[in-house]
Symmetry: C2
Subunit: 331 residues, 2 copies
Amino acid sequence: MQTIELKNRPKIVGGYSIVGPKEGRGPFGKYFDYVMKSDSFGEKTYELAERKMFEIAATGAIQNAGLMVSDVNLMLAGDLLNQIISSSYAARAFNMPYLGMFGACSTMAESLAVGAVLINGRHLKNVVCASGSHFSTAERQFRFPLELGCQRVPTSQWTVTAAGASVLSLEGSGPEIVSVTFGKVIDLGIKDVNNMGAAMAPAAADTMAVHFEETKHKPEDYDLILTGDLGKLGSEILIDLLEAKGYKMGKNYSDCGHSFFTREQDTMCGGSGCGANAAVLNSYVLKKMRKGEVKRVLFVPTGALMSTTATQQGESIPGVSHAIVLESGGK
Amino acid sequence: MQTIELKNRPKIVGGYSIVGPKEGRGPFGKYFDYVMKSDSFGEKTYELAERKMFEIAATGAIQNAGLMVSDVNLMLAGDLLNQIISSSYAARAFNMPYLGMFGACSTMAESLAVGAVLINGRHLKNVVCASGSHFSTAERQFRFPLELGCQRVPTSQWTVTAAGASVLSLEGSGPEIVSVTFGKVIDLGIKDVNNMGAAMAPAAADTMAVHFEETKHKPEDYDLILTGDLGKLGSEILIDLLEAKGYKMGKNYSDCGHSFFTREQDTMCGGSGCGANAAVLNSYVLKKMRKGEVKRVLFVPTGALMSTTATQQGESIPGVSHAIVLESGGK
């Protein structure tokens, strides 16, 4: 079994999302808690801006939960930067224990899953889970210096500048985490770092098929199925892969990356990055669930686990994906 | 509370350690399961050698637990390389879910702690936790290309080439994980990347003092207190810091890094790296505990959470440390 049922149903009692200006102009714009006026966010480096976004997201989620920082027992966070410095350096500012997580763009799911298990077992009272990404730090670390002005290929995605945080607890109100499905590392040999959707889709398909099989649920049992950042091409591949496994995805399926920007924002296959799904979960999804407009959600962030060293040594790109089931509880 | 008591007492039912040739000639040499003949381990790159060490450590621990790979429900692993590629790429070879962990050299403690909580809650039956490091991959990533032949300063430590893995379960025999104490990120402003011991010692002191306070235990209650890789200087700082907090460390205290090499092996302040504590735990400690020569162990790996980008931007080095209490159970 890869699926863990959480009998005590930990709740997301507070969430917060912060995004960059381009992201704020996208379709989810009105749902985000905070839209930055500039990508540098008043800081000297983009890395400092990314860290500040983490601090604001975690603080905001704790405040939205009606809690104080001193009420929270643990931070679980991760990001895309080498040695996940945005998370770890942000954690310095909070006087609470910290677990660093790395699942690339699936990190929000990993943090939520581990946090939910800790809350479910009544080991801790409140935990905060956070993840995020920044266009300018990720692009220069993984691809090229922005100053080079490299052309983008049609399969490429735009790393979003966004962070999201959730506070989990058994006390309080909010959407409940019903189960988590831990995913395997799947690598079908894609080597093109400008085609992350194709590299990650097989991992999402594997985790989702296992989830449907183990829980006896079908895609139509969910009001919303939301993958992380497969983008346009990756989502289409996922739909095909799942159809081959006997699962037909319907209109309730969407991908955070694919729907993060409008067509006019010219991001080729859409958005990507830890922040895409972390911000959409903690804005659009939470708000829709709290209003009762969406009741059952399957949240399936995906991560591409390569590094520049691995790519330079000729390696293919392994993907991983974890699934979280959310249900809107009582008020 | 930062300490979680694990009532069902997950056991380390299998462990495995693999080290490089220099490490094999050190004081723990006879305890390791496998000593490589060369650092390159027959691979084309040191990164591939490091990955192979992870695969062998995880496979060895599963075999030593008397299990098959198909019996294990989850791998929790992490390492020092950017995007923890050694762990993630090794995980491809195992047909099981995977959670990537990052706590720098404290990663083995983080993996064990999260794994133990999952086992304690009977969410999963068997999990494998792994961590490791390689001198040649870490040095060139974090410091200088080895070919430069840079001189080492007196406070420096030698990243060990070693990996260790543990299988946790409620069934079977082995040392029991009684409690885990999650640590905070502590940064007292050390900026010297050649003095990791000083950067990490305050985090270890903080976690240990919290552990002693919350569990009402004293240092003398343990047969062995083992920090991760503080090295000679870092251990001395830890002893001073704990004394100032009212805890006197005795002869039962040792540091994996400090004791990893002999004086003649000329590593300045000793060993460092995720692999140091992962390998010592899964060789010396497990074997001594199984023989009943050591009964209560406080295992406290420490991690320095910086990256080269953070250092180049003038940042100081945050430390983190988690504590695990092991008790030898019945046979």
